[in-house]
């Protein structure tokens, strides 16, 4: 019972569309089939009978025309003609009577001389007219045609009439009702099966779609791509799958640009509120454009980058002459997305800002969802990142070069020694010296790179010890004397008779001195002068490197201490360098509690001074002197 109820429910809800529709179709079909068959059968019967009546009428009329009036002389001939006619035309009764209603000739000889029967009187009594009628007779539903025609002879009114009764052969049609029903049933069933087969395929597809959708209606939005239908790919299924693919793509694009839509809504609702205030202060440029090339909204950062006046907040058109060519180009890019709300496009470019500085910017633009005639753009200032990337790239290039230079000498001189082609002791000694010096140079360079690496990750630590400055400074000068001599540079070491011992990291302090003196020699032209000096006070010691080199523009005094940064001076660029020496030196001195200062002008040489405070554990020069005494 339950199953029947369920089936009925399913049928009512059309969940099993193919089967229920099929059953309904069969019911309608059977009823229609019966009606059509009966109707066809009856129609054919009527048509057939009508045709027979017409034929009988014509024949009877012809008989009346050719028969002579019944007289004694013509009686045998008339009787014979009647018999022949009856035999050939399925005529059951045939008689001729005169005006006195007496039968003068008949198929049945006993009727001759008898008065006309009552049944025949049902025909029209009009003696001059032709009369016909059809009557049911018998219990089997057979029908008869009653006919009466006058015998008209050569314009003389006939005094005799022929009465005839024909059997109508309606029930003897070629096809009976069951036959008709069978024929129509076969043809109809074939047609039904053909149509049903076609429809069922579609119903099946629709059914699968419905099943997919009804499986978990609440999560359709989240898994729209899962609504694809596998298996047989008919036209409906293919169309459905295409629809799902397009919808999924749209859904993805919509989610991508939801952020810009939300921004637009928020701004339009609370332009004077907290959000507008936040928008005005964020370090990201935000611009809303209308399709008439006017700015609906622009925050302070965007106006600074685009070079627009600060107080021009409403409706500045970027076609005005006050907007730079760069600004117009960027605005054209942004406005190009006004009719495309589903795609955010990014471009990296440069622009000269209102403050005269060049900005490297990333512009992200998209049309808004709700108002197709507007678009929003976000402008990110990536100048620092671009500079850092460029500096890092340059650093890698420079480090490669710096590493290869000492390595070249080490390899070449080692091969020279091992070749055995040079046996002069002086040459051999020189080779060893070069290899030693270049190995130390390489070692220092690696120390620098390690230091900068430690700076990057913040793991630089000092290994504290008592450091004697005198030998440290002397050794540094000795290391670079060869390079100085090759450039005819007068390298001087100006030290007081006594220097204090300081608490510090000897190796790292050596790096500081080497970097300062190495830079001085590198950037001092041939024939110049470099002097390393040291002064001690009660509180601190100052290690200075003074040169007569190319000097440094004051605007670069801060930048030269930044990681990987070098001055843009072409004289500086002519020399190789990694941009990490001064950074490392400053960091090491800072960790010792001191600082590095620079006094320099372009073309007037430079003086770098590292000042390191003396700690409680450090003995001053005065104490040393006393101890020595």
């Amino acid at each position: 019972m339950t199953s029947i109820t369920n089936k009925l429910k399913k049928f009512w809800r059309a969940e099993e569309v193919p089967r229920s529709i099929g059953l309904l179709f069969v019911l309608v079909y059977v009823v229609a089939l019966s009606g059509v068959s009966i109707s066809a059968h009856n129609s054919l019967r009527v048509m057939e009978a009508s045709h027979q009546i017409d034929t009988h009428n014509s024949c009877l009329q012809m008989l009346a025309d050719i028969l002579p009036p019944v007289t004694e002389a013509s009686f045998p001939q008339v009787q014979t003609a009647l018999k022949h006619f009856a035999a050939s035309r399925q005529c059951t009764e045939l008689r001729i009577y005169d005006n006195s209603q007496s039968i003068v000739a008949s198929l049945v000889p006993e009727e001759i001389g008898q008065p006309l029967r009552v049944r025949d009187q049902t025909l029209t009594q009009t003696p001059q007219a032709v009369a016909f009628s059809v009557a049911e007779s018998g219990s089997d539903g057979t029908r008869e045609q009653l006919a009466r025609v006058p015998m008209l002879k050569s314009g003389v009114p006939a005094s005799q009439y022929i009465d005839a009764v024909f059997s109508l052969a309606g029930n003897h049609s070629r096809y009976t009702l069951p036959t008709w029903m069978l024929i129509i049933a076969l043809a109809g069933t074939a047609a039904f099966l053909l149509v049903y087969h076609q429809l069922r395929r579609h119903f099946h597809s629709y059914s699968r779609i419905a099943e997919n959708l009804l499986r978990d209606p609440d999560s359709i939005e989240r898994r729209i791509s899962e609504l694809r239908i596998g298996g047989e790919q008919d036209q409906v299924t293919s169309c459905w799958n295409k629809l799902i693919a397009v919808t999924a793509e749209l859904q993805e694009e919509v989610s991508r640009s939801t952020a810009s839509e939300e921004l637009f809504n928020a701004l339009s609702k609370s332009k004077t509120g907290e959000l507008a205030e936040a928008m005005a202060t964020v370090p990201v440029g935000i611009i809303l454009f209308t399709d008439d090339r006017n700015t609906l909204y622009s925050n302070a950062m965007s106006r600074r980058i685009m070079g627009w006046p600060r107080d021009q907040q409403l409706n500045p058109s970027f076609t005005e002459d006050t907007v730079s060519e760069d600004g117009k180009r960027i605005c054209e890019f942004i406005i190009g997305h006004i009719d495309n709300p589903y795609r955010a496009t990014t471009v990296d470019t440069q622009i000269e800002g209102g403050d005269g500085s060049f900005y490297s910017i990333k512009v992200v633009s998209t049309g808004t969802h709700q108002r197709s005639s507007r678009c929003v753009a976000i402008i990110l200032d990536v100048s620092q990142q671009v500079r850092a990337d460029k500096a890092r790239e340059e650093f890698v290039s420079q480090v490669t070069h710096e590493l290869r230079t000492p390595l070249t000498n080490i390899r070449a001189y080692t091969e020279t020694l091992s070749s055995g082609m040079f046996d002069d002791p002086k040459v051999i000694n020189d080779c060893y010296n070069v290899i030693t010096k270049e190995t130390r140079r390489l070692s220092r360079l690696i120390e620098d790179i390690l230091s900068i690496s430690q700076l990057e990750v913040g793991t630089m630590q000092l290994v504290l010890d008592n450091v004697e400055l005198m030998p440290l400074l002397s050794e540094s000068v000795r290391d670079v004397r060869g390079i100085a001599e090759s450039k005819n540079i007068d390298l001087q070491l100006d030290l007081p008779p006594k220097l204090p011992t300081i608490q510090g990291d000897r190796d790292k302090l050596a790096v500081v001195v080497n970097n300062l003196i190495g830079n001085a020699i590198k950037y001092t032209p041939n024939g110049g002068q470099v002097c390393l000096s040291c002064k001690a006070t009660e509180e601190a010691i100052g290690i200075s490197v003074r040169d007569t080199g190319i000097g440094i523009d004051p605007k670069d005094h801060v930048r030269i201490f930044e990681k990987f940064q070098r001055s843009d001076d072409e004289l500086v660029r002519a020399e190789t360098g990694t941009g990490i020496g001064l950074t490392t030196a400053q960091e090491v001195v800072n960790q010792h509690g001191g600082s590095i200062s620079v006094v320099s002008k372009r073309g007037e040489g430079s003086t770098f001074t590292a000042t390191i405070p003396l700690t409680k554990n450090t003995r001053s020069a005065q104490e040393l002197t006393t101890a020595a005494e």
Binding site: T400, H401, R404, L407, T408, N409, A412, Y413, S419, F422
Partner: protein, 124 residues
């Protein structure tokens, strides 16, 4: 004996090349930068140029361009480079018939290359 110009800002490399080439019987001229090299190329008849790429004042690329375009000289040229963009450099210099040796280099191989170039130029 051939006249060879070595243009290099590293004194150690110049000295080393001089040792090897002099031992092979060549006459070696030395330049510490591109401008010095131009002066020597102008004043002397040089059979082969060995030049560093990174040099102060006038670098190796500028020197080679000057040599081919302004001095109209087709003498063999070998460059020494410690740069990391060797492939780009090779592509750049291929059109002017210049051979590139990456640093660090082998002096014996460089000497052999020089002899081969001189032989091809008929200066050996």
């Amino acid at each position: 004996m051939a006249r060879i110009l070595v243009a290099e800002d590293d004194a150690h490399v110049i000295r080393l090349m001089s040792m090897w080439l002099t031992r092979s019987g060549h006459d070696v001229h030395e330049a510490r930068n591109g401008n010095e090299a131009k002066a020597i190329l102008t004043d002397h008849e040089i059979d082969l140029l060995v030049t560093d790429v990174n040099m102060p004042q006038c670098d190796g690329i500028q020197l080679i361009q000057w040599l081919r375009n302004e001095a109209n000289s087709e003498i063999p040229v070998i460059t020494l480079s410690a740069r990391c963009d060797q492939a780009k450099l090779t592509e750049h210099l291929a059109s002017v018939n210049v051979t590139i040796h990456a640093k660090p280099f082998s002096p014996s191989r460089l000497s052999a290359e020089i002899e081969q170039k001189l032989l091809a130029a008929g200066k050996a």
